[in-house]
């Protein structure tokens, strides 16, 4: 029992999130903070007209909000204390009218603001998503999917809930504040000054708290993102987790990440929870001060009782917007923490940057040339070195070599998923670094190593190769790829929904669908990267003819381990450790009795 009582005070301080003491850093911080707010404003401001209407409504409701208590004070002072009845009804009726309009203005401002806020959030999500699609492949290599997903849900959610309420709150608080101070000054400058005593106290208290909550909110969102990433991976990797029966290990890791989120969340909530408490105590203090000193003043007949009553009401009206502002500041910080993580992605450089000055690649014949190309994924190890080759239109080129020799890398460079470190790639003589990437990919068709299927029907998945393709064309492509026979056996044929987890069809069948996709795309340059690796050899033989037909008249690049797939290639490039070590066609390479001969000979030897 005692343990449970003292437990809340035993959380480890988040020392690594030291509150920045140095002046310069602090400035930097607040500068970032305002920069982020400015960017949120940029998104908001597309709805300027409506926003203006909302502000107008806020203005009205604030004014009515002030007028209400004023009339109540009047009712007490002029009618109740004096026990007068003349005109009392009129006063109450006008009070009623004010209340009606008060409620209406509040309703309108909320109604519009929700629209604006959700519009803003919608645009932010869209922008984030669109931007993601413009980011280069290397960006995705390093990120966890779930971590990125967290930004589009959890982080934007933070922004969303803040915008829904905060904008209105902040404006109405500010207006109420100004109005109240004005009326209070008019009623009694002395009491007003007394009420204002608490303002500096509030200011310092707020500063102390928000300095801590800001970084804590960020930490919390970061941890939540990491947790999201972890969850996503464990769901994608269920098959492995189960067969290795590592549920306990995974859960332990999950709990560790959960603990970290918990600690950050605890401090963020505790500190931010202090704000209303601080405001409350100051509120009560001012109440006491006004009552006490007001009492003295009233005794000396310097003010009337009615004024004290009104003042007490106003001092509440005065501290409430301050209180709200303080609270809003806090949710604003949590929104900023979320928004910063969104902007972090928006600030990543897109792969089409500086492409405006580049030209579109015209219809290509398919001549491909690599000139002294060098590239590495990471600084230290060169993945491919000094690659030189020339493939003429309509030819089939094959890359062979041990795994990790750099075959797929060359394809990645040709399709410009990655940028060469040095050297150049030319298609029909056009330097690829001088044409728009998408205009290049338009002419290329791919069957990639992992055949990815989207959640959707078989038909939709094949049609991904050419969105405008007719149903007949889809079936035609499936037939060419030898996929038709298994598709019609599926429960709903072409309309069978493939779940993303890919249950229902086998790996080899997915490859057949990918090939059908490429058939449909009808590209000038065709890339087959281990396109048939999971397909049994009998089926492969059956589609070989179709693949041959597909390659006919197009420049094709083929990567395959099964050498029969590549024997007919016009040019075979043998790669080892990132270099082209041999080049020729099947027969000349065999005659050479070099690396290819070895690869092939050994394979054959172990085969028969």
């Amino acid at each position: 029992m005692l343990k449970e009582i003292i437990r809340p005070f035993q959380y480890k301080k988040m020392k690594h999130l030291k509150i920045e003491d140095s002046q310069s850093k602090n400035k930097q911080k607040s500068k970032n903070y305002f920069a982020t707010l400015k960017r949120i404003w940029y998104f908001l401001s597309s709805n300027k007209g409506l926003l203006f209407l909302v502000l107008f409504m806020v203005f009205l409701s604030s004014a009515l909000g002030l007028l209400g208590p004023y009339l109540v004070g009047m009712a007490i002072d002029d009618y109740i204390v004096t026990r007068k009845m003349d005109g009392f009804v009129t006063l109450l009726v006008s009070l009623g009218v004010i209340y009606v309009f008060y409620s209406l203005t509040i309703w309108f401002q909320n109604y519009w603001m929700i629209g604006i806020a959700q519009d803003t959030v919608y645009t932010m999500r869209m922008r984030l998503f669109q931007h993601l699609h413009k980011l280069p492949i290397p960006f995705f290599d390093k990120r966890q999917h779930g971590e990125l997903m967290s930004r589009i849900t959890n982080d934007i959610e933070n922004v969303s809930s803040t915008l829904n309420s905060s904008v209105i709150q902040i404006f109405s608080s500010l207006l109420t504040l100004i109005g109240t101070v004005a009326v209070m000054l008019w009623l009694s400058p002395l009491l007003t000054l007394l009420t204002l005593i608490i303002v500096p106290l509030m200011f310092f208290g707020m500063k102390w708290i928000t300095k801590r909550t800001g970084p804590l909110f960020k930490e919390q969102q970061r941890n939540l993102g990491e947790l999201n990433g972890f969850i996503e991976e464990t769901i994608s990797g269920q098959r492995i987790i189960k067969t290795f029966s590592q549920e306990k290990k995974v859960t332990a890791e999950f709990l560790e990440k959960g603990e970290r989120l918990k600690a950050a969340g605890f401090w963020a909530q505790t500190y931010s929870g202090l704000i209303p408490k601080l405001m409350n105590v100051l509120n009560n203090l001012s109440f006491a001060i006004i009552a006490g000193i007001g009492g003295i003043l009233a005794l000396n007949n310097m003010i009337s009782i009615g004024v004290i009553v009104i003042f007490v009401e106003y001092s509440r009206q005065f501290t409430r917007p301050l209180n709200d502002l303080a609270n809003q500041f806090n949710t604003l910080l949590s929104a900023v923490a979320g928004a910063e993580r969104v902007f972090e992605i928006l600030d990543e450089e897109e792969e089409f940057k500086n492409e405006r000055s580049l030209h579109e690649l015209p219809q290509v014949k398919g001549e491909v040339e690599f000139k002294n190309v060098t590239f590495s994924y990471e600084e230290e190890s060169k993945t491919v070195k000094n690659i030189d080759f020339h493939v003429y239109p309509g030819e089939t080129a094959a890359f062979v070599g041990p795994t990790g020799a750099g075959k797929t890398t060359l394809i990645n460079l040709l399709s410009r998923f990655y940028e060469v470190d040095s050297g150049g790639i030319f298609i029909d003589g056009y330097d690829l670094s001088k044409v728009k990437k998408e205009s290049l990919r338009k002419y290329m068709g791919f069957v990639l190593q992992d055949s990815f299927m989207f959640q959707g029907t078989v038909r939709e998945n094949i049609r991904y190769g050419r969105l405008a393709a007719s149903d007949d064309a889809v079936v035609e492509a499936a037939k060419l790829a030898n996929a038709h026979s298994f598709i019609v056996k599926l429960p709903d044929g072409y309309d069978t929904v493939l779940s993303q987890e890919g249950s229902g069809i086998s790996q080899g069948q997915k490859q057949l669908l990918s090939i059908a996709r490429a058939f449909l795309a009808n590209p000038s340059i065709l890339i087959l990267d281990e396109a048939t690796s999971s397909i049994d050899t009998v089926t492969e033989l059956k589609i070989q003819a179709a693949l041959q037909k597909l390659m006919n008249g197009r420049t094709s690049f083929v990567i395959a381990h099964r050498l029969n797939t590549i024997q007919n290639a016009d040019r075979i490039f043998v790669l080892d450790e990132g270099r082209i070590i041999e080049e020729g066609n099947h027969d000349t390479l065999l005659k050479k009795k070099g690396f290819y001969y070895q690869l092939h000979g050994k394979a054959a030897a172990s085969g028969i």
Partner: protein, 576 residues
């Protein structure tokens, strides 16, 4: 909602403390106007300055007490809500870990992810708010009313007349909100889903330049999320103006009747002032109500989504009488008339298959794509249960073993090399506790990946991105083979896991595997691999078409001959 609330139980002491502290704060807040009335009635009106000072001083002391209570409450509330969130998340995660694949098909991955983060955050925040302000609002209203009754019964009656209607209205709004917010969370799932697909399929999307198509898909999901959110929020936001109006009308009532009663002398001026004051306080409490009902509706929607997962019956569990001492010792595998069909499909994936694999044997499984090879594999570690027949290991039905003791002895290498983000070392050692560096190096060498690792920038410490990007397909496959080998399994299942290896490397790998004393099942497309096996199983359309050695199958099976000739063509050309 109730089921989720039970997770608060371990923290009931902290909850009680937090609530007591909150009540303390509330109490102070409620007596404030009472002091105020005292100051006016006993101090100012009768010219008694010392009474003003006395009551003023008491007020200050009380507000400091309330501040202290508020600060400590913050600690308890944060403690409870964070631990509550943590516990629910843990329970949910553990539940999901126990899911069978059939269970996984019931929930899209993206939805499970949203439930585990976003939905729990919603409830967690609501718990925090409840412990701090939420109960305050109703209590403030009740307390305010009670104080009003203490001050003057007649005037208080006017105030309380409207309150039952308000509660009914609020409950109506809340019920509506729960449904609406459930919609919102569901839309969030689909936004998350499109996002996840984009991330997984980004290469394909770029290769086919489907950026605009994907964006339009996302726009649809996003638009729906927006629309549902707007609808839900707008319904919620109607509550506040309505509440404010009703309360304000009751203030007018108090003023009217107050004035009348003053004339009859039943009411004092100070009393009217105090009751108007209470009425404004109650109104203020109602204005945070719109916020509260929003939070509560959301929390209810979210908890129903969480409960949905928690209450999903797991259809693949250890039997109660599962043998807890059994451990795979020899690795004999037996299939007896096994039938298997994926849930919600019409045709069976495995149709009456029987075979026996003796301990230490190597068996190759061949067959066309979609013939049921992988399905057959999945029955051995019991990823799915058979529909009829039996899968026996060392003579015992796999359903009678504890899943953990069964799977511990199995090394599984899937078709698609699935790696986790982390270092190379973490990935190899992933499947075994307390694995030593030597063991990992040994496994890496046998899997023919050691040399490659040596060349990586940080060798075994090199970080891999999610799914091992930046490694070639073959390298990923070999890493996942090393991960299986490091466990020194009694049964090794290789699901076409050498497809991206060149033949030289593959031959070396197969040679190295011979040193392991385990029963090995290999799904392969290559005759050359199959030839090395003690037994070959040939599958077609879920049926076992033929079994035997290479030579006997050459004689008896037409399909095997077909496969053989499809592959020997290149060889024969080679020798020609």
């Amino acid at each position: 909602m109730l089921k989720v609330i039970t997770y608060l139980k371990p923290y009931r002491i902290a909850v009680v403390i937090a609530l007591i502290l909150m009540l303390t704060e509330l109490g102070v807040e409620l007596v404030q106007p009472f002091f105020m009335a005292k100051i006016i009635d006993e101090g100012i009106q009768v010219n008694n300055l010392s009474a003003v000072m006395k009551w003023g001083g008491i007020m200050v002391v009380f507000s400091i007490i309330s501040f202290a209570a508020g600060v400590i409450n913050s600690f308890y509330a944060a403690h409870v809500s964070q631990n509550f969130g943590f516990d629910v998340r843990k329970a949910l995660f553990e539940k999901v870990q126990s899911f069978s694949f059939a269970n996984f098909n019931q929930f899209p991955a993206s939805s499970l992810i949203t439930r585990m983060t976003n939905d729990i955050t919603q409830i967690q925040n609501t718990v925090f708010m409840s412990l701090r302000i939420m109960l305050r609002a109703p209590l403030l209203i009740i307390g305010g009313l009670m104080m009003a009754f203490v001050v003057n019964v007649k005037l208080a009656l006017i105030l309380s007349a409207v309150i039952p209607f308000l509660f009914i209205f609020l409950i109506w709004v809340m019920n509506k909100g729960r449904v609406l917010f459930k919609n919102v969370q569901e839309r969030l799932d689909s936004v998350n889903g499109v996002m996840r697909e984009t991330l997984t399929g980004i290469r394909l999307i770029k290769a086919f330049i489907r950026r605009k198509y994907e964006v339009s898909r996302f726009a649809t999901a996003n638009k729906e999320l927006k629309d549902r959110t707007v609808t839900a929020l707008r319904v919620m936001e109607v509550a506040m103006p309505v509440l404010l109006f009703i309360m304000n009308v009751s203030i007018i009532g108090v003023l009217w009747f107050g004035n009348m009663q003053l004339n009859t002398g039943e009411v004092k001026v100070g009393e009217v002032v105090a009751i108007v004051n209470y009425a404004t306080r109650i109104t203020a409490a109602f204005s945070i109500f719109s916020f509260i009902i929003m939070a509560f509706s959301r929390a209810r929607a979210s908890s129903s989504r969480i409960v949905e997962v928690m209450e999903t019956p797991v259809d693949l569990l250890d039997r109660k009488d599962a043998d807890s001492v059994f451990a795979v010792k020899e690795g004999k595998i037996e299939f007896k008339n096994v039938m298997f069909q994926y849930p919600e499909t019409e045709t069976s994936a495995i149709d009456d298959i029987s075979f026996t694999v003796q301990p230490g044997q190597t068996v190759a499984i061949l067959g066309a794509t979609g013939s049921g090879k992988t399905s057959l594999f999945q029955l051995i570690p019991r990823l799915y249960d058979v529909n009829s027949g039996q899968v026996l290991i060392d003579g015992m039905d796999v359903r009678e073993m504890k899943m953990e003791s069964l799977r511990k002895q199995i090394g599984f290498v899937p078709q698609e090399a699935l790696l986790f983000s982390g270092s190379v070392k973490e990935n190899i050692g992933w499947g075994k506790e307390n694995v030593s560096m030597e063991e990992m190096m040994e496994a890496a060498k046998d899997a023919q990946i050691y040399e490659t690792i040596k060349k990586l920038p940080n060798q075994f410490e090199t970080k891999l991105g999610q799914k091992g990007v930046n490694l070639s397909g073959g390298q990923k496959q070999r890493l996942s083979i090393a991960r299986a080998l490091v466990r020194q399994p009694k049964i090794l299942l290789l699901d076409d896991s050498t497809s991206a290896l060149d033949r030289r490397t593959e031959a070396k790998l197969l040679l190295a595997l011979k040193a392991y004393t385990c029963t090995t099942l290999i799904i392969t497309q290559k005759i050359s691999t199959a030839m090395e096996a003690d037994q070959i199983l040939l599958l077609e359309n879920g049926k076992l078409l033929a079994k035997g050695t290479h030579d006997s199958l050459l004689e008896t099976s037409k399909l095997y001959n077909e496969i053989f000739s499809s592959q020997s063509r290149e060889e024969s050309r080679n020798y020609a």
